[in-house]
């Protein structure tokens, strides 16, 4: 190995890390501490109507999912009495956290009665929205919270309707029953037009032209459409290009299996589709309304395509209003359309969120003191430092001059961890918690082990009679494979835990993964050049092996 290259590697690496560290110190940037260490905000929610314990638990889980999908890490969500309490760690962007929590309305399924273009005819496709449109954070005042499902009775013939015709070619903005093109032999439903649904009102030209609608952003639904008392609402679509009169809610997002909505690529058309599973009770409600739309009944009149449309509404905004292309949907639904990936993901997220059984609203915000507190962090730091000092003392006794490499390597590693922890906790919402500290304390041992494996190997090579200069690259090559394999498994555990678990486990996994990567990086960019260079100096003369811990126990001279 070229000496100059080794020097360059080491110097550049150390300079880079030192530079970042100085930048952090100069700007007084330090890791953001988590809820347990620093305290944070607590938001208290209450349901707007009676909810039983199961509903509250469901809301708790949904809220946590929602926060995490917005990148707010390690929220502490629990049910207390009738309230739901969300403890947020010192999130960097509190507005973002509130935004994530504010859109906690329920998703409704409503038949589309009539739609009106509010802009000069553009290429609006039903069921699609303009790119970049995320779920608006504003709760529209016009959103009625009508969760009453009409008492529809659906014949039990959904399953029989499924023929094995395979998935039909996907059209734009359509609900398709996956895996089955329904046969039309389903008996006519006796769908009751109950509670005065006001089917007449939907037909008439009640929607005056609303040319003044804003082009972008969710327009306030308090448009010129007269409100009615029959459970109908008028709602714009996401980009405000269309204003629809919607029938009463035929079901809520609870129709969908929790967290089942996923984005897929349709293999036939290559377009993005959203698929979701229906669950037991929800399936009945869904199929009931779907059938009405499919047949173009007055409760869900046929759109120009010949089929009725069913809207997915959140907070008074039509998220998607595809035409219904099947009589019944045995178990699952796919929505296809001219989606971009983002749009499809937004829609899937909306459907997933839709499982809120009841509406919740924010009651108050409290500040929270830490449970562990900075004293715990300080104690952990002091104890950790004492532990590291003792470990290093042992290493000095055992490895003599080689221990210099360990001390320098650990120092570089520590600074790198600090820099990265600062970056991560500031740029993401993964604040530094006791869990993260656990990961780091454990990784001290694993990091020191890297040196131990290396040096034990080095000593073996020297014992066999090699010079240190000769032994160093050989030992490194052998060790590198071992270290890489072992650290790879550690990294694997972090990655899997990070992507598949929730809450504090994720924060821990993140920090453990970072320390593992740092270990390998420091080993390659710092330890390797340092040992190679030192092995070539007189100070590390292999004629005196005791100076790096070989033969110290033999006594006497050889």
């Amino acid at each position: 190995m070229n000496k100059r290259a080794l020097w360059a590697t080491m110097v550049i690496f150390v300079a880079l890390i030192t530079g970042l560290f100085i930048f952090d110190v100069a700007n007084e940037r330090s890791p953001v501490l988590g809820l347990d260490l620093k305290g944070g905000l607590s938001v208290i929610y209450a349901t707007t109507e009676e909810a039983d314990a199961d509903d509250l638990i469901a809301i708790r889980d949904l809220m946590r999912d929602q926060l995490e999908s917005f990148g707010i890490a390690e929220p502490d969500v629990r049910v207390e009495g009738e309230n739901i309490i969300v403890d947020l760690p010192g999130v960097t962007d509190q507005a973002e956290a509130f935004e994530a929590l504010q859109v906690s309305g329920i998703v409704e399924l409503r038949p589309v009665l009539q739609c009106q273009q509010t802009l000069p005819p553009t290429e609006t496709v039903p069921g699609s929205s303009l790119p970049g449109s995320s779920v608006p954070a504003t709760t529209s005042p016009g959103a009625s919270v009508d969760t009453s499902v009409p008492g529809t009775t659906v014949p039990e013939s959904e399953e029989t309707a499924a023929s094995a015709a395979g998935r039909s070619p996907v059209a734009r903005g359509r609900f398709l029953a996956p895996s089955a093109a329904p046969v039309t032999t389903v008996p006519e439903t006796t769908t009751p037009v109950d509670t005065g649904t006001g089917t007449d009102t939907g037909d008439a030209g009640e929607t005056p032209p609303t040319t003044g609608a804003p082009e972008f952003g969710p327009p306030a639904p308090t448009t010129t459409l007269p409100p009615d008392t029959t459970g109908q609402i008028t709602a714009p679509n996401q980009d405000g290009t269309e204003l629809c009169v919607l029938g009463p809610a035929a079901g809520t997002g609870e129709a969908f299996e929790r967290k089942s909505a996923a984005v897929e690529i349709d293999l036939q058309t290559g377009g993005w589709i959203v698929s979701a599973d229906l669950r037991g009770e929800g399936q009945l409600a869904w199929n009931s309304i779907a059938q009405q739309c499919f047949n173009g009944l007055p409760t869900c009149p046929a759109a120009p395509g010949g089929r009725g449309r069913l809207a997915i509404v959140l907070d008074g905004i039509v998220q998607s209003a595809p035409t219904v292309n099947a009589q019944s949907f045995p178990g699952a639904v796919t929505i296809s359309g001219d989606f971009t990936e983002t749009e499809a993901r937004d829609l899937a997220q909306t459907i997933n969120r839709g499982a809120f059984p009841v509406q919740v609203e924010q009651q108050r915000v409290e500040t929270v003191s830490p449970t562990a507190g900075e004293s715990a962090l300080n104690a952990a730091l002091i104890a950790g430092l004492i532990g590291v000092a003792l470990t290093l003392l042992y290493m000095i006794v055992y490895y003599r001059r080689l221990s210099l490499v360990i001390i320098a390597g650990l120092a570089v590693w520590g600074v790198l961890i600090y820099v990265l922890a600062t970056y991560i906790s500031r740029e993401t919402n993964y604040a530094f918690t006791i869990a993260g500290a656990t990961g780091i304390i454990v990784s001290i041992g694993v990091t020191v082990d890297t040196y131990i494996v290396f040096f034990e190997r080095l000593k073996d090579e020297v014992r066999v009679g090699r010079t240190l200069r000769n032994a160093a690259p050989r030992a490194f090559n052998a060790t590198w494979k071992t270290i890489f394999a072992a650290n790879f498994v550690a990294l694997l555990s972090s990655v899997v835990l990070f992507f598949l678990s929730v809450g504090s486990v994720r924060g821990f996994a993140l920090y453990l993964g970072v320390t593992t990567i740092c270990d390998v990086v420091v080993f390659w960019f710092f330890t390797r050049p340092l040992v190679f260079l030192l092995a070539d100096t007189k100070w590390f003369d292999s004629s005196n092996p005791k100076s790096f811990g070989i033969g110290t126990a033999l006594g006497g001279t050889q």
Partner: protein, 411 residues
């Protein structure tokens, strides 16, 4: 960890005692004390011969663990079980210390309690939460808190609290674990072999089980931090086992042609990595012990103990299981393997011949050992127990390649 060195002399001794009473192998002097031999990597512990010790001890520990889990279960904290919460106004100077006192007077453990200061537009208050208490406790202590805080009974809110760590979190973590196990099994199977994958995963499960068992046995409170510590152990255990297996794999490749008994490969590898295992254990455990004693006991931060105990137990068993569980298992799996079956019935070497193999890094197959035995018998016959360098060389040549002569270094 106590390992006894086997007595030498049961097999043909190859180590030669020099005139000054010092042993040496291939010109390398052998330390006279056990510690010295350990430090110099000159041990000759018969790990394979003592495999039953490890398997039986671990079996017993797991039996105790399962028994304890079955009988008394785990002492789950408030995050898992939910509990009771009081909101006590702190306008009259009620503080966390007072809350502690009220709890202590009521005979409730403050260990699992969570006490927070909170403030909102409505004023400041202390939120006290304790886990898993009957509902009456809520009303009983409401009066006590109201008295202590000097406020009306009505100003103290009592509520039942749900768990924050619901079944969903657990099921997600379990799913993550299963996927992780599958990936690890695939990776180790590809990088090493499937038997090693099984052995290392069993060793890992063993470590986590025993750590959980300690929490059940002593009824330590399990918090989310503890669970995280358990997950850490999982990674650490695998890490440690892989380092050991890597050496075994390397020696397998190196001696694949000479075909010594598989036990020899294991014994040599284990003795070669023994010092590394000890060093790693020390350097990993010292920070955790420091956390437990300095941070938790001396500085009184109980939260640190929540995971320090789990980590301590997990790391100790992690190193232990790599040597005493994973390797014996590997021996069981592999000894009957066709590749190593040739010498299955020949006994593995112990004592000085093992030391010789450990130190020289060379291993002999059956044939080579036969030659070595002849050579050393000849040597013994010529000069019994007092031999010079000659015989050493003779025995050594029969056993292995001598180290390459040192080349002159270029400057």
């Amino acid at each position: 960890m106590s390992v006894t060195e086997p007595r030498s002399g049961e097999s043909t001794p190859i180590t030669v005692t020099g005139a000054d009473g010092r042993s040496s192998i291939g010109g390398m002097p052998i330390a006279r004390t056990k510690t010295g031999r350990l430090l110099e990597g000159q041990t000759a512990v018969d790990f394979v011969g003592g495999r039953r010790f490890g398997l039986i001890a671990s079996g017993l520990l797991i039996l105790i663990t399962v028994g304890s889990l079955f009988i008394q279960g785990l002492n789950l904290g408030i995050d898992f079980t939910g509990g009771v919460s009081w909101d006590v106004p702190s306008e009259n100077g009620f503080g966390p210390a007072d809350a502690d006192e009220v709890l202590a007077q009521a005979g409730l453990s403050t260990e699992g309690a969570r006490i927070q200061e909170r403030s909102s537009d409505a004023g400041e208050f202390i939120k006290v939460q304790v886990g898993d208490q009957p509902e009456e406790v809520g009303t009983q202590l409401r009066q006590a808190f109201a008295d202590s805080a000097g406020v009306d009974l009505e100003s103290v809110d009592v509520n039942l609290v749900s768990s924050t760590w619901g079944s969903e979190v657990t099921s997600k973590a379990v799913r993550a674990l299963l996927i992780f196990l599958a990936l690890v099994a695939i990776y180790i199977s590809l990088r090493f072999e499937w038997r090693m994958a099984i052995a290392s995963i069993i060793a890992m499960v063993h470590d986590v089980l025993i750590s959980v068992g300690i929490y059940s046995l002593f009824q330590f409170i399990v918090t989310p931090s503890t669970v995280i510590a358990f997950l850490t152990i999982l990674g650490y255990s695998l890490y440690d086992t892989i380092v050991v297996f890597d050496r075994i794999k390397e020696n397998e490749a190196r001696f694949g042609t000479t075909k010594p008994p598989y036990a020899d490969v294991l014994n040599v590898s284990m003795n070669q990595v023994l010092m590394r295992s000890l060093n790693t254990t020390i350097s990993s455990i010292v920070p955790v012990v420091s956390l437990l004693f300095v941070g938790s006991f001396l500085m009184g931060e109980d939260t640190l103990a929540e995971f320090a105990i789990a980590l301590l137990v997990g790391m100790a068993t992690g190193t232990y299981s790599s040597i005493f569980v994973a390797v014996p298992l590997l021996y069981l799996f592999k000894n009957s393997d066709a590749n190593w079956a040739g010498s299955r019935n020949s006994p593995h070497v112990i004592g000085e011949p093992l030391r010789e193999m450990v130190v020289s890094g060379n291993m002999s197959g059956r044939r080579a050992r036969g030659r070595a035995a002849v050579a050393s018998q000849q040597a013994d016959a010529v000069v019994p127990s007092l031999t010079g360098a000659n015989t050493t060389e003779q025995a050594k040549v029969a056993l292995s390649h001598p180290p390459r002569p040192r080349k002159k270094t270029r400057r």
